[in-house]
Symmetry: C2
Subunit: 308 residues, 2 copies
Amino acid sequence: MASINDVSRLAQVSKATVSRVLSGSRGVTEQSRDAVLRAAEILNYKPNAIAQSLSSQTTHCIGVICATEHIQQATGYLQALEKQLRLHQKHLLLRFANNSSAVAQACGELSTGLCDAIMVVGARFPLPEAAQQAVLIDCLDASGEQQVGIDYEFASQTATHYLLTQQRRKIALFNFYPGEAADQVLQGYCSALESMALPFNRQLVIAGESSASVALQGLINRHIAFDALLVTDYYQGLEVAELLKRYQRAVPQEVMVFSLDGSAAIFGQPHLPLIAYPLETLAQRAIKLLSGGASDFPLLRGNLLTPY
Amino acid sequence: MASINDVSRLAQVSKATVSRVLSGSRGVTEQSRDAVLRAAEILNYKPNAIAQSLSSQTTHCIGVICATEHIQQATGYLQALEKQLRLHQKHLLLRFANNSSAVAQACGELSTGLCDAIMVVGARFPLPEAAQQAVLIDCLDASGEQQVGIDYEFASQTATHYLLTQQRRKIALFNFYPGEAADQVLQGYCSALESMALPFNRQLVIAGESSASVALQGLINRHIAFDALLVTDYYQGLEVAELLKRYQRAVPQEVMVFSLDGSAAIFGQPHLPLIAYPLETLAQRAIKLLSGGASDFPLLRGNLLTPY
DNA sequence: CTGTTAGCGCGTTCAG
DNA sequence: CTGAACGCGCTAACAG
């Protein structure tokens, strides 16, 4: 690979001039400029990004730690983030991690000067201290300073209202692991019930179960009646829908399954009703945070999407 | 961020000694070693990756260009690749691109010394010249030197055989855009038919249509009878299955949909029969190629997976 | 306007 | 075993 020295030699000018021409080409003779450009063209010269980084102390690389357990969720986020980062001339350094210590390790390995910043996306578990500095996107444990949050209270309220309009009265809720986000979801769920003057049945709420399938089994084992299931992500929704069929419970006729997070509404029509978030907006906010913009975004609200 | 100078100062030794201790700590007094380690600990010193890269002319970064049109497909690949790369202490620089010129641009922007190598994954379109040097993974236009290919002939043969055992005799094939891969698929399809002494119906093969849905519409418009659909990827399969239902054709009773590429068998049971590839193997081969290992892998063969 | 010089942080000689 | 010195490729400050 040709270096700046090769170009300066061929163009008969100094390295500095070459640098000037290719960076902020101001204050350079047209003659020198041409010579440099021609030489660069001939040698197919591209400034070495590493050297530029060392000199400028900025790499244009953003470390993105995908902390989503269901990897499929990650895709939507990744695609949106990559697009926005690309538009801002930044590179996306990808890393998967689905528990606290893996995130910690990823943070460590990315904090060696390689990245200008780190983002953690979609974590459903408590975050390590190492992630405090990171931009948190749709993370439940939003202890960091900079974050793009999602309005889960609004989502669960919308979802519950929708289910009520569908004549469902025994809505089971499989909530996040206990924490602020779970409280918000519960809050929205309760508000919706209250607004219709309906009683709250504690037995229908299950929090912190390892998976929605397990939660569902528990519900069934305990012979608790339900005609709707509110789950926290789309893939859990598909999972329980599948399981329900095996229990001979028709979906959605007998039991309606609703997902609070459907950033993954992929191929045309969704199979389950869900709340879908505008990923582009999410990504744009993330970029704004990186650029040091204001961090006082309102929680992001999604749209109700239903099959048919 | 503390630099090597800070450490050397605090430890009362020279930079060289610090470097020695933290790299190949051989030939250093235990005393100096301790002093350095302690100082590094205190300062929370991490060698600057960029400086190391500049010096060593190697970044440990691998550029991965995801060229999959259906982004969902990418996820499986990405997860597998990231894992293997991580195990080899390499970073994954992600880029999406779904046409030839986007791939070319991505290659250009990643070939500035930032990456040690570039991989292109899942391209279903002709690749630009710029990608010749890259490691090609499941790319149809495998004009490059280093590649991890998939045995599509084997896949389509398996698929066709399976459909035949399901008493399907009018199997429509929605093939890749014309090219070597499409030929292989067609070859496998024909072999399977021949082995059962069945005739080949040219009208049932559609190649290079923009999407499987469009191809399906064409088939229906022309009143061509079919009882099975062989498509090239899982999401197209879901798409046509959905469309078939709208045409009142029961899936899989009346029409069975089969996908040749199901790296995306995600949540437990698949909804459609498919050929699923061992992504871990795929990723391991990719890494081997990066390490300069032999590039004479046999085409990768997948497994038949069916619902229930 | 241009060339020279001095770092950026690190690895690696090469003498001592 | 250790430290001083050089180079990786580039940018920025400083003289001409």
